[in-house]
Amino acid sequence: MANFRSIYKIQIFLTILVHVTLALYEDQVGKFDWKLSFVGKVKFVSLEAKRIIVATEENVLASLNLKNGDIHWRQVLEDPKDYKLELLHVNKEIVTVSGKENTWFVRTWDLNTGTILTEWFINTERTVPSLFTIVNEKLLHIVPIRGLQVEITSYTLANAENTNGSILKGISRKIPAAWLNKDSDCVPAKSYIVCAVSSKLYYVDLLKENSMFVSQSLADLVDNSAGKVLLIEYKQDVPSVLLLKNNIAKLGTFNGENIQIKPFNLMPNAISISNNGKDLIYQLEANDNKNKLIKVKAKDPQTGLDSFSLDLEYPLGLGAPIILGGQSKGSVTDLLLSTTDDALLLVRLPEGKILWTREEALSSVVASEFFELPISELDASIEHEFDSANDILEMFSHRISTQIKQFYNLVFGNNLLQNSGLVRDEFGLHKIIVVATRAGKLFALDTLTGSIVWSYRLPNVQSFIGIDNEEKMLLLVQRTAQYAPLPAHCVLLAQDTITGNGILFEFDPITGYSKAGIQRLNYKIVQATLLPYQDKNFLKPMLVLSQDEQAHVYPTQAVSLIKDHFSTMFLYVADTENSRLSGYTLKYSTEDSLQVTPSWNVDLAPSKLIAVSAKPANEHVHSQGKVLYDRSVFYKYVNPNLLAVATMTSDPIYNSVLSVYLIDGVTGLIIYGTSHKKARGPIHLVHSENWLVYTFFNERFRRNEVVALELYEGHWQNNNIAFSSFALSQLPQVQSQAYILPSIPQTMAVTLTERGITNKFLIIALTTGAIIEIPWMFLQPRFTNMPCGPEESCIPYMPEIPLHSEATINYNQTLSGIHGIEVAPARLESTSHVLIHGLDIFYTRVAPSKTFDVLKEDFDHVLIVLVLTGLIVATLATKKLAARKALKQAWK
């Protein structure tokens, strides 16, 4: 009997599972999803005939196609937060050195395929910044130790093939250098090490045995005006270095124990490119020509005379460039430029044409938002039919004219009325994604193709540092595009790189047009929120809290609009430094002066605040309760002001304890709190409707666990019209359940739909590079003492959450360095848009309850037409036959 029951259970489970798991069909690949791949801001570069080898700030090694800039292969090394690439050297094979503090990995790679050839690592005792260089197939590790010496360890790369991973013993050598201080600046120049300390230049040739530092007064070498001399590496066959003072660079070449300074001035970004044994110095200079701001100059390295000069067709909107590298072949010279906004571009000389541009800023997205497109002119004119409701004649003519236009469109196609392709479609599937990047550049991407619609560069802008050192900017939608003819209106909040003060940038997300440009505020931003009221222009006012607890409203005239709502306006601020959450009220404000009064605060010290999550503002909760097996309703506790907070405490017995609190953002009341012993981060919170899901690493069982919390008011609803945080008669009932997650999550999100009718899916980005969708039903806490089966739409509890490969929404398009997930509803209830950003950007659509509101795309139109025509033919034929039979019968 028991056996039978278990079989029965499994069967139920399987039927539900079949129903619940959704997967793509193979022919849907690339139909609505797209992926953009990036490498990050380029740090080192080497041009090798038809390909470019790049090493980037994102700790990525990649090979790009010289012709079009496409990625040929890409190897993502360790987390760029800790590990940095220090060296790139290409000679038959690629050598990279990447590492942190006192540990470096030395890896050699195959040039064609990107396959690793050898790997070993260097471990030093001291954690001081050090240099790497390669001379005569020997890797030199140079450690300058302040006030003492320079330690040089040389490793023979050829021997590395046989070591297979274990540490390679290098030959160490120490050169006394008591003059080294914290301001000293050392660079390698072929076999030389060159250091500049206050007023003297020291250099040594490492190839010579027992060589010592030679000193030379800097005043003799460069002009003796005030200012510090900086050294810049300069790569050419003769060991040389650039000496930079007051933004003027001089080239110094070494010969034995002598240094020779060339008599001409150079730009700091000068590089040397050799062509058939003849070297030329290439540099970029500012141009007087207003249309062509940049010019390229080639100089002779002996005389410093210009041998070539060209004004570049430099595109507008890109930041200031520097030359990273180049190569010459015959009469053609390719220069690879990198800009301040992280773009990478290839210039081909002598034409000066830009062959391609890669917007590498997109590899570090810090804020993203989906925008609906404006309706077409025709639809707008239909909507405006009742604008002039008094004049019947005008309305009539309006209707006739729009209907003629509609008919015209139907016959001749509707390409005449659309100025651009950016017009809203029927189901809201075509949207614009606006992303803000760490480099301070805004991009708008088209959801259909992934192409860049517009971009806008904001100079001297950086992101806020949020909880857990997360870089963040704020994109707030003040007005959507649905109020035609008024354009959509969006605000970006960030901070100034120099002062740290707030930056406000208002723009139209569809066109990228900004009337006011960048507004630099005179205070630091602590918190900002949109208010749920609209002024006469349908603009939602934005409330910004400054560091000195002053509130500001944008647009400023909106104060009169919100003055009646001051008593219901609340703000919260999470202070990570002091682990404190504080709430503020605007109750005591008047129209003339906004008063931000602290109303509550929750001190979580000595615990460390590691995550705070509020609910998505545009979320709709469709169902107010859950129907139980006895047909009674259990009402959900849907508190829009609820904050989920996670803290970590170090504990002498349990190592570290994770605590999760649910705090009301208006009253500061802790509604629920729980803790997990021996838990470790990273913690991910997902907060939606009446539930919270969080993941953590359980150190005791060494696995990732996911916990779901669900809040219910009970069988009786407190107030079914409006929710109030103050009207609390009893604490909500909390259901909770924990599960094992058999993989490591990197970030999580939940689907959002227009009306909230569709089931919810959790979207989890795993460290493996897969994006998995899990139905919320899998995690929903089961009620104890209640039956669980398909009738209750409940899946029996399983300790381990199944992660099927079919649930991977990005199929084999593995994503690297995933940073965040942005979800937005489509106008179609069943569908939501998903954008995953990181080193790659991936966009797709998910339909958690399948696309129940549109005809399936594999719907067989031919079959239905065939069946219908068959039926009609059959009816006609039988009609004829019947008539003939009746006639025959009559004749009998």
């Binding site: 793509l24 396959t115 790997e119 471990n123 060494r702 058999p742 493996t768 490969s805 991977t808």
Partner: protein, 238 residues
């Protein structure tokens, strides 16, 4: 003699393994750093079709905390690992590999076992240095339903159309046939005969039963309307 030889051979192999494991240690200022080693065996069909599979494969230790890359011969090393417990995953976009838990104790002994999240104490040992074989091609997609003629034929709509059609077209033809007519009549007669018999039997039975209940259970009479109805029948018959 032979047995002895085999035994010594085994001992030698285990010794070699031990030495192999020990070489991975890198002593450095007190805290030891170890190297996880292993080899990946892709499916043979894949190896032949995609000669450059090594660069697309990565090895993640603890979800990318340490990374290993695959060499041309399929071997990999993960450098700079301290003693502890690690989950080693092999990642490839098109193929699935089973993760392995590698435990390194403070003395530098390696142990590899299967990952079991539910019974964490259960040890199913696997050989170290790791030998990881592809489980198979990852199935990302659902298979689209193919169009079959049987699907159409067994469609309820079609069935609804075909059955009446059969009744209309075939039955009258059968009726016209004299032999079947005879047969039908016979069947009808038979059923008639039996029907009457059955109904008689039932009515008789009910009559008998009701008589019994009349005497035995007077309570039921008040409550059960159906019972009353049945009781009336024999009265009418009488």
């Amino acid at each position: 003699m032979f047995k002895y030889l085999v035994l010594s051979f085994v001992v030698v192999i285990s010794l070699i393994y031990e030495i192999y494991g020990e070489t991975g240690i890198v002593e450095d200022n007190g805290s030891s750093k170890y190297i996880i080693e292993g080899r990946i065996f892709p499916l043979s069909d894949y190896q032949t079709s995609n000669t450059n599979w090594q660069s697309a494969t990565r090895v993640h230790v603890n979800g990318g905390q340490h990374i290993g890359f695959v060499k041309r011969d399929g071997s990999f090393i993960v450098n700079n690992v301290q003693s502890g417990s690690y989950v080693v995953e092999v990642l490839h976009p098109d193929y699935t590999f089973e993760p392995v838990r590698v435990e390194i104790n403070s003395k530098g002994k390696f142990r590899a076992r299967k990952v079991n999240h539910i019974q964490t104490s259960l040890v199913t040992q696997v050989p170290y240095p790791l030998k990881i074989k592809a489980l198979g091609k990852t199935r990302y997609f659902q298979v689209r339903e193919q169009w079959h003629i049987t699907d159409v034929l067994f469609n309820p709509m079609i069935m609804m159309m075909v059955c009446p059609l059969l009744l209309i077209m075939v039955l009258p033809k059968l009726m016209n046939d004299p032999e079947t007519k005879k047969d039908l009549e016979q069947i009808q007669e038979m059923t008639k005969f039996e029907m009457t018999e059955v109904s008689d039997m039932v009515s008789n039975y009910l009559a008998g039963n009701s008589v019994g209940s009349k005497e035995g259970a007077p309570k039921e009479r008040d409550s059960n309307k159906k019972g009353q109805k049945f009781r009336k029948r024999p009265v009418v018959k009488d």
